[in-house]
Assembly symmetry: C2
Homo-oligomer: 199 residues x 2
């Protein structure tokens, strides 16, 4: 309602482009991600798409960065206020992943990230870079085996979200999370002994 008579709205178009690309990947698989499909779904011509993103790679790159940014924000928000909380980062990581509701388009994009990660070594490397940077920032709290296990389990959940595995069932998921939190409250966890990083 800001400017109703304005016909062009490039920012909205770019957003729609990314949105549609994500939807295509998740719902119809990677091979369905063609310039023509994305353009059609977004109600633009292929030329129009190519105008905003000068190539397929640029499109995917844009998608990647958008999703990572979003995820980063989510994790940041999920961080507990007490900075010395054990496994602080990994807990937030798990919380965000576990909260994914695939019926919400916004959150569905995380599936895109997972897809890109497992299919393209390039994005995989960039993702690892991101994770390791966070890990370094939270070295005091998140280098313990328990923290790693939390993130590992989160990745497992994440993966199961992609294909609706047996662990994507909400009630099962709740049970797993409850178990993990129960573990957290137990002294069964050995004292955090951050290992010297192996490169």
């Amino acid at each position: 309602m800001n400017r109703p008579q304005r016909k062009n709205n490039p920012d909205a178009v770019r957003a729609r482009l990314l949105e549609c690309a994500a939807r295509l990947i998740v719902d119809e698989g990677l091979p369905a991600l063609t310039l023509e499909n994305v353009a059609r779904e977004a109600g633009v011509s292929k030329g129009g798409l190519l105008h905003h993103y000068p190539g397929k790679n640029a499109l995917i790159d844009g998608l990647f960065e958008e999703v990572v940014d979003w995820f980063e924000g989510q994790v940041e928000d999920a961080l507990e206020p007490v900075e010395t909380t054990p496994s602080r980062f990994s807990k937030a990581y798990l919380r965000v992943v576990a909260a994914i509701d695939m019926s919400v388009p916004e959150e569905r994009r995380l599936a895109v990230l997972m897809l890109m990660l497992s299919s393209d070594p390039h994005y995989c490397a960039r993702w690892n870079q991101w994770v390791e940077a966070r890990l370094q920032r939270h070295a005091e709290t998140d280098l313990t085996p328990f923290a790693r296990t939390l993130r590992l389990a989160a990745d497992g959940l994440w993966l199961s979200d992609l294909g609706g595995g047996p662990d994507s069932n909400p009630s099962v998921r709740r049970e797993i999370l409850a178990f993990l939190e129960h573990l957290d409250a137990t002294e069964a966890i050995p004292a955090g002994s951050p290992e010297q990083g192996g490169q």
Copy 2:
């Protein structure tokens, strides 16, 4: 040395075809999986490849089934003899995944499975079917949250194997496994209360 003078050896050719397809996917990415590439790598013509597998899908299907069969055998072998061992199946699952050495071509195929799982919903469904069948067979021991967590973590490790994430480091991995086994030896785990299956 069975039949040295035999020029044709279709079974060996089929095996090489699958082998090369797997290598191509893992080393050069999914888009490198073309009929021509596979045929050339296997030392066969495209026509020859099409003779054994009447289409690309047939090739991929063959690869999928072979890998699943291999994984199934590995897990079967890793099963503890005592049938009532808690989390029996999930422990074997984790053991197999954790033992993956990406430098061994045979084991590298698991990466192929992961790739196919995350890229094609169809194979994802078939995989879920496999897992749920096993879960049903081991319902007495593997429906607990701890068992699920084990498999989730295994999936996380599996995924990290693909792109060499921070958890693919051997020493880190050992530490995680040790932690998981430590947990297993603890009474921190609530009694197994198999939830009623949700569909």
